[in-house]
Subunit: 432 residues, 2 copies
Amino acid sequence: MPDPRRPLRIALLGCGVVGTEVARVLTGDADELAQRVGAPIELVGIAVRREGRRRDLDVPDDLFTTDAMALVARGDLDVVIEVIGGIEPARGLILAALENGASVVTANKALLAEDGATLYEAAEKAERDLYYEAAVAGAIPIVRPLSDSLAGDRVTRVLGIVNGTTNFILDAMSTTGAGFNDALDEAQRLGYAEADPTADVEGFDAAAKAAILAGLAFHTRVHISDVHREGITDVTAADVRSAAEIGSVVKLLAICELGPSGEVSARVHPAMIPDSHPLASVRGAYNAVFVESEGAGQLMFYGPGAGGAPTASAVLGDVVSVARHRLAGVRGAGETVHAQHEIVPIGRARTRYHVAIDVDDRPGVLSAVAQAFAANDVSIKTVRQEGHGDDAQLVVVTHEAEDAALSATIDRLRDLDMVRGVSSVMRVEGVA
Amino acid sequence: MPDPRRPLRIALLGCGVVGTEVARVLTGDADELAQRVGAPIELVGIAVRREGRRRDLDVPDDLFTTDAMALVARGDLDVVIEVIGGIEPARGLILAALENGASVVTANKALLAEDGATLYEAAEKAERDLYYEAAVAGAIPIVRPLSDSLAGDRVTRVLGIVNGTTNFILDAMSTTGAGFNDALDEAQRLGYAEADPTADVEGFDAAAKAAILAGLAFHTRVHISDVHREGITDVTAADVRSAAEIGSVVKLLAICELGPSGEVSARVHPAMIPDSHPLASVRGAYNAVFVESEGAGQLMFYGPGAGGAPTASAVLGDVVSVARHRLAGVRGAGETVHAQHEIVPIGRARTRYHVAIDVDDRPGVLSAVAQAFAANDVSIKTVRQEGHGDDAQLVVVTHEAEDAALSATIDRLRDLDMVRGVSSVMRVEGVA
């Protein structure tokens, strides 16, 4: 237990958008944070990649160092905050921080989804806290609600809009009728998408968050490779219009489910959700996580999913929690992975589908198409014809079916003479 | 610290709708809860008011007792769950439980808002936990987010729909055009309102929650008598129509604000909020709490605000947290009331107003009305005339003004010859 008369020593690794904001609050609001913690706090070092970069921060120059490893190895730190991101050097630094007796607060979703097990085990061995509220959905409190508030309940499903960039793009497509590329350009122009948008638009960022959410929700370990991932680059203006025709919107969803036999699935893909669903009204770059559980029923957590100040809010909440524990000589609840759920592949996920099929405009086509669904035990809820002649299209919405059965249906449809092509397949989620 | 080989002993006080569900999960899902806690748990007693009542519970008869005080005074309890409600005997039982070494989980908003200070102090003295997630907004995790997740941020405003009965009634009025009494009848018929609906429709329930929320949000003590309270019994179908005309809906809001000079206000009253505000789409008996903070920006927490299973979910989340602490021989973060904020009366609250004034339909009336506002420094944003002749009405929406100034304006309006009456005054909230 630290000497209560000395301040709690905090080191910050990384000083980009989030780190700068964290440092600003740790120094500027130190007195208020000290009251929340119950002891003074002191920012003793900031590890940066390059010296000399102009930072908009009122802190002494000698706090900055380019030797992050030397900083975490000081041996007298109470809390290390990691906001560098990526796998290395973040992993090595976090492990060194724990080994040297510090608790760790991180916003690193990629590392947690890739190798959370190593971090948790190191925290357990070192008897220190590993907190990461900022890793999922930015400022939105979702880690504590899942790990603590819902600890006496059984979560059955998590549906999350956990990537602001893709939500901004899809919202823009829905509002303006633009195609993906135009909406991406606009997002880049406004700073909502990076110059290389791959991590966002291909769903990698959301998949990392899905792995973390599934682990928390179902008390089991889920690796990012367990998460089925599809991005939004193939979503067309026509898909967005089709969604509107069935009273829905297209969102990139992270979906974590606990099946009836205890099997867990985690997937990220674009999906149509009904306008009446609380997630449908999540606009722009906002995030939201919708949680279904046996006891609580339906809960939703909504807020900004990224940005310097919001992410810093989540980081600093963890810093206060960890510092309080430190002061009391205790630890918070660690990882609970008592449940050994089977992680099932996407083929066994069950949901509904919206399928647009370009067909010849002649008698018998509906019957042939319906037969392709029936042969794979995929039950049709609605079917309607759009257009005529060369533009004839059948739009089918199914009842719940296994993903593998739907894939087999699509293969069969593509083999039909009367089918000119399957122009769109999209899952439909959030239907009661 | 309890012997890790023996189960954690839990006693339940109260076995109504919530208590029955808590007992059902504690016994039926004991194995899963044990894994979450890290040790077995055992429900050792259930205090009820009357013996012999038929309860839909598969627990041994000898668990039931009518002597609650003897149960909490056993001296070997780890956790006492209080779901009796009301001030006494709940307060005496909670104090006795703490004195006898148990941690306490309660859903008792009335008691916390009336005498939370006594409970917190008793918990502090006994070095035990006092948890109460279920006391505000049922299943919605809001206590931990405010006390822990946002502990490194500065909350500036909380807007909550925290009473399901009144939200159901106002939603029904908005959807069907019904008046208050018809909507209340419907709510009673469907079980959303009690036979005596006073606590809900007069805003007492929401005011207790507002006191708790304000205390948590601003780290200061707020008593229920500090909360300005107006219910929804005077809300008319005309008010709801007026709201629709300005693109808004009427909601009963609990509003907690931190002013620019550190003053705190807490109030409960019906208000118009714009359709675009996330709270506007909270339908039926659902609750939601909208939080604004300096770092995180805007957050919203949404879910069922009442009911047996949802409330039990929140209670059981607390039970798991408290039991984990108990097992580790530690306590969670206690009350933080380091901030000594001034609690200001409603007169000093600042907001916008929607005022409907029945006027004579003749030249000069607008000028006279406008002068009444100007004389009290209340700036008018929009004014429009509705109806003609005997039905002539001026509808004024103001810019932000002090409540006292608006009251003075209304008094002055009522003195005007050309004003036949002020038919409606409602605050307008949630405007950017």
